[in-house]
């Protein structure tokens, strides 16, 4: 199978407009003849469900939470970018496009990113119209702040809860359509497989998490909006329930998986405090607007700080190394996430880490408090500071915060073409679930942008084209493919329920996380990755022998749910290792130790690796086949990223 990204012809800035005109339309009166299945109700899923229902399609939306409002998009803190140039600081669609391509280390698809930048402007207007309470200036106009990887203020925000407000906006649009009878929502339902007929996606198999009922649902198209897979690392900033199951099962049915090893490490998380920890908590990147990152200049001072004989505020100015400001004067503390993360790791490796474990650097607000006053700082970041106090029992108004990088977002995901279609016709992937717009690294405030762009402004156009071409002929769950897929799912569930070993699923998950973080985390080596591959294969074999799954299918069973997800994470972990092993270059947060500049920066290899890796599943325990989508750059010149 050859990959066709279906990028429209013509100049970059006109591709999307021209494409929209070329796409076939579905007559308004015919739209009600089409049934659309949407899995996941976060920013991408809720916005797509609402918009498609407004257009007249019948939508069935599924989520594993008890309400669409709980989707993990709700936890995004900092903001959403848009090229509005309200600040008159030189922003433009092209600059947002350029920053995103460069920030993604030239591993994103130009046409998609340009479309994202174009559409960004409409997203803000749409959300304002829904009543999203963005931050405002005293004159009543929208306020902006800046984020890593950019030198303009283009980030719109709602205190530190932007994701929450945007999601509640999309949730309200969804609610309106539920009330109108155009969307039916199935909560506490988990998608366990996709049904294909003649190579096209025609439905899904779900498990009702309250009753255990395994049901089939038919539709003319299936949209996966199921988020990312950071929880493969066990400890991440993702919600506990975030998982890869829907996307992974689709992958096993023929959807290629793009750039699985591209993981974003976020530089400002609260450090791990002990083995008991179930997740990591992010401190928004927006804090770096006013917070200054530093480590002690010497190992001796760091040691005193670790032992607690010296307090951070007692360290003299001369003994502090504001390493980001020193090394990257133009961007300072607002360098992109991969650069900030790598530098923090370097400090720790030099023995200059702080905190009890030594795995932390400081994020200091003393200067900002002196300059702006505590009240202003509180108004800007209060909820984040409160969160820090709850978790660490330390007061960041008095002592600098301790931060360390953590896994946050996955840029890899199901491979999609320009229309957001996976390699299975009729199966689409939106938002973090797809691989498409962020390249090897995601700039801050661009995840919310992509979720909403895909849901509100891309899929309503591109899906129509597919539906118009395939026609409204009714699809029905009586087709044997539905029964067959359902039986496969039941067999898998029963296989899990039969596991009565000695080790809990959670213990397997933690082991997997250790392997992934150690060998496929912030720095990777050929040798380490080869070792990790063996470890994961052994872990997988052991899981299917020794895991414990309690309870039965016909009831609420968190143990069973978890087991299915961890089994999928283990398989994905192996593919991530393969992908990382193949990519013998450094790009974005994916740092191959063998490939670095003399200054220790990530060194790309454009000659050999300017492609998207799209993996095809070839059967259980078979090596996956690599397909390459060559990336071509017309509008930007590929260059070494330099933030100095």
């Amino acid at each position: 199978m050859t990959l066709d990204a279906k990028i429209p012809q013509g100049p970059l800035a006109e591709k999307w407009s021209k494409h929209k005109f070329d796409l076939k339309l579905v007559n308004p009166a015919n739209k009600r003849k089409y049934d659309i299945i949407i899995v996941g109700t976060g920013l991408a899923g809720a916005s797509a469900a609402a918009t498609l229902a407004e257009l007249g399609y019948n939508v069935k939306a599924f989520c594993f939470q008890d309400s669409p409002r709980r989707a993990h998009s709700i936890a995004a803190q900092g903001g959403i970018n848009a090229a509005k140039n309200y600040q008159n600081d030189g922003d433009s669609v092209f600059r947002l496009f350029y920053d995103t391509i460069k920030g993604g280390d030239y591993r994103a698809r130009e046409a998609n990113v340009h479309r994202l930048a174009e559409v960004s402007v409409n997203i803000i207007d749409q959300c304002v119209a829904q009543g999203v309470p963005f931050a405002r200036e005293y004159g009543g106009l929208l306020d902006n702040r800046s984020f890593g990887g950019s030198q303009v203020s283009r980030t719109f925000y709602a205190r530190g809860q932007t994701g929450q407000q945007l999601l509640l906006g999309a949730y309200s649009a969804l609610n309106r359509q539920i009330h109108a009878g155009k969307v039916k929502v199935y909560t506490r339902h988990e998608m366990l497989d996709v049904v294909t007929i003649d190579g096209h996606a025609k439905g899904i198999v779900t498990r009702n998490m309250l009753t255990g009922a395994i049901d089939t649902h038919a539709g003319h198209a299936v949209l996966l909006c199921t988020g990312g897979y950071s929880n493969v690392f066990y400890l991440s900033t993702n919600a506990i329930g975030s998982n890869v199951t829907a996307a992974w099962r689709a992958h096993k049915r023929g959807a290629f998986f793009g750039n699985p090893c591209y993981t974003q490490i976020h530089p400002t998380c609260i450090p791990v405090s002990g083995d008991h920890q179930s997740k990591l908590t992010l401190m928004s990147e927006s804090l770096r607007n006013d917070g200054r990152v530093w480590a002690p200049k010497t190992v001796e001072i760091a040691e005193q700080l670790r032992k607690g004989t010296l307090k951070a505020d007692q360290v003299k100015e001369d003994d502090r190394d504001y390493f980001l400001e020193r090394k990257y004067p133009a961007f300072g503390n607002l360098v992109p996430r991969d650069v900030a993360s790598r530098n923090a790791k370097e400090m720790v490796e030099e023995g200059r880490g702080v905190g009890g474990s030594g795995f932390a650097v400081f994020l200091d607000f003393a200067d900002a408090i002196k300059r702006l006053g505590e009240e202003t700082v509180k108004a800007k970041y209060g909820n984040l500071f409160d969160m820090y106090i709850q978790i660490t029992d330390e007061n960041p108004y008095k002592q600098p915060m301790r931060i360390y990088p953590a896994v946050h977002y996955t840029m890899g995901g199901l491979w999609v073409d320009y229309n957001l279609s996976t390699t299975i016709p009729g199966l689409y992937a939106l938002g973090e679930c797809n691989f498409s717009d962020h390249g090897a690294n995601r700039l801050g405030a661009s995840a919310l942008m992509q979720g909403l762009s895909d849901g509100y402004f891309v899929i309503p156009y591109t899906l129509g084209d597919y539906l118009a071409k395939t026609g409204p002929k009714k699809v029905d769950t009586s087709h044997p493919a539905f029964e067959q897929t359902k039986q496969d799912v039941i067999a898998h569930v029963n296989k899990l329920l039969a596991l009565k070993g000695t080790k809990t699923v959670n213990e397997y998950h933690r082991d997997l996380g250790h392997i992934m973080w150690e060998y496929c985390g912030m720095a990777r080596t050929d040798e380490g990755l080869r070792k990790a591959k063996g470890l994961i294969q052994a872990l997988k074999a052991d899981f299917w022998k020794n895991a414990i799954v309690t309870g039965e299918n016909e009831e609420v069973n968190a143990s069973l749910e978890r087991a299915g997800r961890v089994a999928d994470f283990i398989e994905l972990g192996e593919l991530m290792i393969d992908d990382a092993l193949m990519r013998k270059e450094s790009c974005g947060g994916h740092f191959r130790v063998e490939s670095q500049t003399p200054d220790g920066e990530a060194l790309r290899d454009d000659e050999n690796f300017a492609f998207v890796a799209a993996w095809e599943f070839k059967g259980e325990n078979q090596p996956e086949e690599l397909h390459k989508e060559q990336l071509t750059f017309e509008a930007v010149h590929l260059s070494q990223r330099n933030y100095a």
Binding site: D66, G131, P133
Partner: protein, 261 residues
């Protein structure tokens, strides 16, 4: 860094489902670190139950950052535990002391049927939002964001109401199981903003009607909801809602009865 040095007794409500009677069961929670969150402490207990082949305790949780609103738990007589202004996932074990007995119950309200053990069904909240908790605007063709100027104080006030996470602590805290703090937060948010004006009086009537339909009780101004709300949503929201509701009933021509169409 701290060691697992706390030993606790948990009295946990166990109930198979809404149709079965429930009861308290005691468990030991051993070697608990004060740095653990309350949910992480339950994770530890569940791991040991699983090792013994027993069913783990079912409870709702997801983001563990205090924002998704999924976690619940009535702990020692308080929704989300004894501390103010936080959710259960943000409650840390350092709040308790070694040797303590902790009582853990689900939200108790007729409109929130038990799902299993400590988890309840809060879909009544969704149905109230579906009855009108939105601005009716289609995607596309909207004015520029700055074409609708909103004074900062108003935007901030609307935001304060918009921070409700829909966890249900207000209902759990209320002796009448009233949902008025939850409902009024959305009514206030949209009622303060220019975008919410066209449907302001329809909205309050439909949402209140749905709230009553779901079986939530009335507000008697006790204020337990405000005291226990993890997002510190203010009682003034309820005052605004009542004001809008009476205005709608007294002065508006259009009376809204509809439930479903």
């Amino acid at each position: 860094m701290s060691n697992g040095n706390m030993n606790l007794t948990l009295k946990v409500w166990r109930q198979k489902n809404a149709q079965t009677a429930g009861k308290f069961v005691s468990y030991k929670a051993e070697n608990i670190s004060p740095d653990m969150s309350f949910l992480e402490m339950l994770d530890v207990v569940n791991e040991s139950l699983t090792h013994k082949g027993d069913e783990p305790i079912n409870f709702d949780h997801d983001c563990r950052e205090g924002i998704c609103g999924m976690c619940s738990l009535y702990i020692n007589g308080h929704p989300h535990g004894p501390k103010r202004g936080i959710t259960t996932c943000q409650l840390h074990m350092r709040t308790f002391h070694d040797g303590e007995t902790i009582t853990i119950e689900p939200w108790r309200a007729e409109a929130f049927p038990i799902v299993k053990d400590l988890a309840v069904d809060r879909s009544a909240f969704d149905r109230i939002q579906q009855a009108g908790g939105y601005v009716s605007v289609n995607t596309g063709g909207v004015p520029d964001g700055n074409a609708i100027p909103i004074p900062k104080v108003i935007a901030d006030e609307a935001f304060n109401s918009a921070t409700c996470i829909g966890c249900g602590a207000c209902v759990a805290a209320c002796k009448n199981a009233s949902a008025m703090l939850f409902v009024s937060a959305k009514i206030t948010q949209l009622g303060l903003l220019p975008q919410g004006q066209p449907e302001r009086y329809r909205r309050v009537q439909s949402m209140v009607a749905q709230m009553d339909e779901e079986g939530f009780g009335s507000c008697t101004n006790t204020g337990a909801c405000e005291a226990e709300c993890p997002k510190e949503i203010k009682l003034t929201n309820i005052a605004r809602m009542n004001n809008d509701y009476f205005s709608a009933k007294l002065f508006r021509e259009e009376e809204v009865h509809e439930q479903n169409h």
